[in-house]
C-alpha cells in the first residue's frame, strides 16, 4: 500500500514566506491544498479542504491566526494546527497552545529547522493514526 498523501493548508500574508514554506512542503512530498493571505480565507479554505495539517501565521489581516485557530478548534477539535510566526512573546505562545495549537514554529528559525519541525509534525500525525 502506498504512503498516504499529506495535505497541508498554508496561511500567511507574506508572499515570500508562502513561497518558501510551499517549497519546503512540496520538497517533502506533501501537498499544499490551499493558500490564504488573510484569516477569513484561511478559515474558508480549512472548511473546504479539511487538511491534515494547517500552518498558520498569527498577524493576518481580517482575522488573526489565533482567532482562526479558535474557530477551527471549535469546529474540529482533532485539527492539527501549527503556528508559524515571528511572534514569540510568552503570552501569545501560551495562548495558542492553550487554544489547541499542535506546535509553534518561529519563522526566525533556519530553513532546515523549519523543515525538520514540519517533518516532526507530519510524523506525529502518522503516529496518532496508527495508535488504537
Amino acid at each position: 500500500m502506498g504512503k498516504r498523501e499529506i495535505r497541508v493548508l498554508l496561511a500567511d500574508d507574506e508572499v515570500h514566506i508562502r513561497y518558501l514554506i510551499r517549497s519546503i512542503i512540496r520538497s517533502e512530498g506533501y501537498v499544499v491544498v490551499g493558500e490564504a493571505n488573510n484569516g477569513e480565507d484561511a478559515l474558508a479554505l480549512y472548511r473546504e479542504h479539511r487538511p491534515d495539517l494547517t500552518l498558520m501565521d498569527i498577524n493576518l489581516p481580517l482575522k488573526t491566526g489565533d482567532e482562526v485557530l479558535v474557530e477551527i478548534m471549535r469546529e474540529d477539535p482533532d485539527a492539527k494546527v501549527v503556528m508559524l510566526t515571528m511572534v514569540a512573546d510568552t503570552e501569545t505562545v501560551q495562548r495558542c497552545l492553550d487554544l489547541g495549537a499542535t506546535n509553534y514554529i518561529l519563522k526566525s528559525n533556519s530553513v532546515e529547522t523549519i523543515r525538520q519541525m514540519l517533518r516532526e509534525a507530519v510524523n506525529s500525525l502518522s503516529l496518532e493514526e496508527t495508535q488504537p
Binding site: A88, D89, T90, E91, L97, N103, Y104, L106, N109, T113
Partner: protein
C-alpha cells in the same frame, strides 16, 4: 532637604522602571517553546494515566 528630594525622585524612577519592565513582553526562543510543549505533553500523559 535636597537629599530627601533626591530620594523621592529616585523612588519614583524605580517605580517607573518597574512598570516598563513589567510591560515589556518576554520573548521565547524555539528551544524554550519546545520545552513548554514537552512539559505540557508529559502533564497530559500523567493526567490520562492517573
Amino acid at each position: 532637604m535636597n537629599a530627601k528630594f533626591d530620594y523621592l525622585k529616585m523612588k519614583q524612577e524605580i517605580v517607573e522602571d518597574e512598570k516598563i519592565f513589567k510591560a515589556k513582553p518576554i520573548l521565547l526562543t524555539q528551544r524554550e517553546i519546545q520545552a513548554i510543549l514537552v512539559e505540557r505533553k508529559s502533564k497530559d500523559d500523567r493526567r490520562r494515566t492517573s
